[in-house]
């Protein structure tokens, strides 16, 4: 059950993760390990988390994402969260959730653009 529904694909030197609509805690935790392993394996310099299908983003999910971004950064990669839904963004804001050092992008295309830009053009959430 753990990581069967979360696909991780390598696109050049970026890892692309497509999150399903309502992943359970175990899948989210398993994903973190899988991503880090693949980052090492492929020497990826970036990670894109496509959450356009995600309907609920609670504190557990947010914390795991923030942790993953931090871990990825330690391994030399930047993280971009792509495609957050308006209703999810509003709820997350009201909840006071942060995404750590992860950047955000409107969609996967922009996310990839952000990661291939020389400068730090993306919207970082780090203070």
């Amino acid at each position: 059950m753990a990581d069967e529904s979360i696909s991780v694909v390598k696109v050049r030197d970026v890892l692309m993760v497509t999150m399903p609509a309502d992943p359970d805690d175990a899948s989210v935790s398993a994903l973190q390990m899988k991503v880090l392993q693949m980052m090492e394996q492929y020497e990826a310099t970036g990670l894109v988390l496509d959450i356009s299908a995600v309907e609920t983003l609670d504190s557990f999910f947010a914390r795991t994402v923030a942790e993953t971004a931090q871990m990825a950064s330690l391994m030399g990669g930047r993280t971009v969260i792509a495609g957050m839904r308006p209703s999810v963004a509003i709820t997350a804001t009201q909840l006071g959730l942060t995404l750590g050092s992860a950047m955000t992008a409107l969609d996967v295309d922009r996310a990839l653009d952000t990661l291939t830009d020389a400068g730090q053009r993306g919207n970082s959430h780090e203070r």
């Binding site: 957050m84 963004a89 009201q94 409107l106 830009d117 020389a118």
Partner: protein, 310 residues
């Protein structure tokens, strides 16, 4: 029961509340029995009473207007007769309630105000009471109890009529308010990748919520990188408003876009600082124009560096 707009179809009065109302006026099963005993009598005088009522309706321009032709008049008279017979039907439960609620909604929809159909109840009683007293001639006590029972059920009916009328009117007002809100806080695309939303007036929680939802939706729809929110038209910013603005800024950032606050006048700037609002990382500009310039510069830079890569 279909409401024409298909909205707000929840019962204005629940079955539980209906029971409570009956309890309050003291409408008991005895009353129900007394009224059912009236059944045959009311069937006998129903036509006459309806005629008297509509004679009155046709005397006044305001009510006459609802019956433009004979076909309408006859149809309504038939419905009215059914309604009056319902008063003495003997059953005053859920179905009765649903039926009466429907009547109220219909009246609101056609624009017949309570003033007229409450008045109709009065005419009904004036027509019915003498007939009742006549029928129960030998038993004045029973006549009295029956009249009181009739008064109770009519009073309950009037309450329902008013409740549904008010509820239906409020639904219309709510819908119109929503539409006004949408018109008064438009979100327009001013350039490729840039949307602008002028905020006018005070921002209460409800308005802020609506605004945020529309703003974010438009950001996604237009695939914009910058959302210019102009607060020139916001006379005053209190900590609540500032909080709403900060939330909007954070939410837009989560989408991957940037909210630029424009039209920050000196007094507002002072207030924000005095309130201790942390605007770290928030881009602000004094005018919408300046905000647009910033937006285009930042997008141009983005494109520039990207093109440079190719």
């Amino acid at each position: 029961m279909e409401h024409p707009d298909g909205q707000d179809r929840q019962a204005e009065v629940t079955v539980l509340e209906w029971e409570q109302r009956k309890d309050f006026v003291g409408f008991t099963d005895d009353d129900a029995l007394l009224l059912r005993d009236l059944c045959s009598l009311s069937e006998a005088y129903a036509d006459e009473v309806v005629e008297e009522l509509y004679r009155q309706f046709l005397r006044f321009d305001e009510t006459k207007a609802f019956f433009p032709d004979d076909a309408t008049l006859n149809r309504v008279k038939a419905l009215q007769k059914e309604y009056f017979l319902g008063l003495t039907g003997g059953d005053y439960g859920q179905e009765y309630l649903a039926n009466r609620l429907h009547v109220g909604r219909v009246h609101q929809r056609i624009g017949l105000s309570p003033r007229w159909y409450i008045g109709a109840y009065s005419i009904y009683m004036q027509a019915v009471i003498p007939r009742l007293i006549g029928a129960f001639g030998s038993d004045p006590k029973k006549a009295q109890r029956t009249i009181v029972a009739l008064l109770k059920i009519i009073e309950l009916d009037q309450e329902l009529a008013i409740t549904t009328y008010i509820a239906a009117s409020e639904a219309v007002i709510a819908r119109q308010s929503r539409e006004i809100l949408e018109i008064s806080t438009p979100v327009v695309q001013v350039w490729e990748g840039v949307i602008a939303a002028p905020l006018i007036g005070m921002l209460d929680t409800e308005r802020a919520q609506q605004f945020m939802e529309r703003l974010l939706t438009r950001v996604v729809e237009t695939r914009s990188s910058v959302a210019l929110v102009d607060i020139t038209g916001v006379p005053m910013v209190d900590s609540r408003t500032a909080q709403h603005l900060l939330e909007a800024i954070a939410a837009v950032r989560l989408l991957g876009a940037q909210l630029v606050l424009t039209g920050v006048r000196p007094t507002i700037a002072q207030t924000l600082v005095h309130l201790g609002i942390d605007l770290e990382g928030v881009v602000t500009r004094a005018s919408l124009e300046a905000g647009l310039r910033f937006a285009m510069e930042s997008m141009h830079l983005q494109d520039g560096s990207r093109n440079g890569r190719q």
